[in-house]
Amino acid sequence: MPADLILNVAVGGVLTGLVYGLMALGLSVIFGVVRVVNFAHGEMMTLGMYAAVVLFGSFGLDPLLMLVPVAAALFVIGYILQSTLINPFVNRPEHSQFMLLVAVAMIMVNGLLMAFGPNARNTLVSYALDSYQVGPVIIDAVRLYAALAALAVAVALFAFFKLTPTGKAIRACADNYLGAQVVGLNVKRLYAFTFGVGAACVGAAGCIMVLLIDVTPQIGPAYTLLAFVIVIVGGLGSMPGALLGGILIGLSEALAGLFFVPSAKGMFAFAILVLVLLLRPQGLLGKKA
């Protein structure tokens, strides 16, 4: 197999993986702090993608520029969702949280179907089909911008959690729920805020993702699953872990497609998941429980 082919595929895999990572980051934040299984994660990304499609279609606004307002809108949705619907479920058993979010996901998917119909939508930006040639490697322009944007959002998120008081308070909540309550943090509000941040993150990922793939109402569940796999591979609650997991899954899918049967490449993400769960259940960068 020619080396430049492998290199091309690997570069594409890593770039796509970064976007996957950003999507999973949102899940990791929610999961790590609120301890709620957001089974509507992929559906929330679909919401962000449709927002980007509408803004592009009606006003010609570039999805990458719309990243901030869409993320803000998703923040509000996430905040409201957590403070009204999900908060009473925080101490309920996992399966009832799961059922609640399955219901939310069902409403989202089919609400989108009612609103937008079943056709695939996309944003045809002017640079949609550009690519750069660097030596033997052809880099897809959209994929490159998408990966850079994902990286930028991730850095902003890291900064938020490390530097701002709210971010620190949220981390305190995650580390020690009881302690956070004792020192007088408003845990309910912080949970809602965290869910909002996670939703904003996946909304931003949606804006970026819409450049890479077409959106239909039905794509949500597959991405929910993908986000889960990435978060668990990377390590629950570890933000660098989510990015690393994304890159790993993106890269392994790409290389598996190259070296094995392409239609079976989806198996590899699950195979990696099973291996990680068995050999290092806390995830690659996760702390031991």
Binding site: M106, I107, V109, F270, V274, L277, P281
Partner: protein, 335 residues
């Protein structure tokens, strides 16, 4: 034998026994007043009631959340169908192969998960991962049709229980018998020592361990019993539908459909899975009916309504519909 029977009825009020008898009699007679369509809906409801009961053993009794039960349905369906189509082995024998295959899958997943103490959400995800892995595997298993599908020959002939070929009414009674047997079997389990061990593990695994229960062994047993029971739903599926497509049978949506019944009906209860399956199936049809009648049948609106109903039940009836209903009907046991 009589001791076992007495034990089955222990702590059950006469009222409850009569009510159960009436429900069973109603189900026995239902086909006489049903047309083809209603019969097909009832068959689906019984199918979900049975499969939900099987899933309930693992989650409701032992507290292990599996979101990949379509895996057991799928491998068992394929096993029985392959035996029948490729080697002419009728399902009455082939079902043992199906049970064995499903139990083997269950045992492998259980062993890996429990040995490495994977639990909770992680365990649930592991079960999804195995189901998805198998789905893609079967897509490439060209000997059994791959993603092109595996087909059983449909013959128009009188009911034959050996080969499971016959009219829908035969499938109805087969499914009814399975559901009734599963109900009795689960009742027996909950009255047995194994059942008590499972409840202990469900409530507090560490305490159960401290009491000297071999947690690993009893969790394994729950997975194996549950997968074995689920496999019969798969055999039924293969011979009732006659077409198997990996994309359909192994899909995650299938696993979720399967567990909605017990969760809505009442997790860990015996009658909950049955009630939940019937409520959901009837609700789905009622909604379609109303939508068509009022002219609001836009694609998606039904599923939105379905989602809303689900949310309502989960929010306001956290134990499911059966426990409060049981109290209301005065069917609580004497204890």
């Amino acid at each position: 034998m009589s001791r076992m029977l007495r034990r089955l009825g222990e702590g059950v009020s006469n009222r409850a026994l009569v009510a159960l008898g009436l429900v069973f009699a109603a189900l026995l007679l239902a086909p006489l007043v049903s047309n083809g369509y209603v019969l097909s809906v009832l068959i689906i409801a019984l199918y979900y009631a049975y499969a939900g009961q099987a899933w309930n053993v693992m989650m409701g009794f032992c507290g292990q959340l599996s979101l990949g039960h379509s895996l057991y349905v799928g491998v068992a369906a394929y096993a029985a169908a392959i035996f029948f189509v490729k080697w002419n082995v009728p399902p009455v024998i082939g079902m043992f192969a199906a049970i064995a295959v499903a139990m083997a899958f269950g045992a492998v997943i259980g062993f890996l998960a429990f040995r490495f103490s994977v639990s909770g959400v992680y365990f649930a995800l592991l079960t999804i991962a195995f189901a998805e892995f198998t789905r893609i595997g079967f897509d490439h298993f060209t000997w059994a049709g791959g993603s092109g599908g595996f087909f059983l020959k449909v013959e128009d002939r009188a009911a034959d229980l050996i080969t499971l070929r016959g009219p829908p009414i035969m499938f109805y009674y087969v499914m009814l018998a399975l559901t009734a047997l599963a109900f009795l079997f689960c009742r027996m389990l909950t009255q047995s020592r194994v059942g008590y061990y499972w409840f202990a593990i469900r409530e507090d695994q560490e305490a159960a361990q401290a009491l000297g229960i071999n947690v690993f062994r009893y969790k394994m047993l729950a997975v194996i019993v549950s997968s074995g029971m689920t496999s019969l739903a798969g055999v039924f599926f293969a011979f009732y539908y006659n077409n198997l497509f990996p994309e359909q049978i192994f899909s995650m949506a299938r696993s979720i459909e399967l567990i909605l019944g017990p969760i809505i009906g009442g997790l860990g209860t015996l009658f909950g899975p049955i009630l939940g399956a019937f409520v959901l199936t009837v609700l789905a049809d009622l909604v379609t009916e109303v939508l068509v009648f009022t002219g609001y049948d836009i694609p998606g609106v039904k599923q939105v309504f379905y989602g809303l109903c689900l949310a309502v039940v989960v929010i306001w009836l956290p134990l499911g519909i059966w426990p409060p209903l049981k109290r209301r009907l005065g069917l609580e046991g004497r204890s």
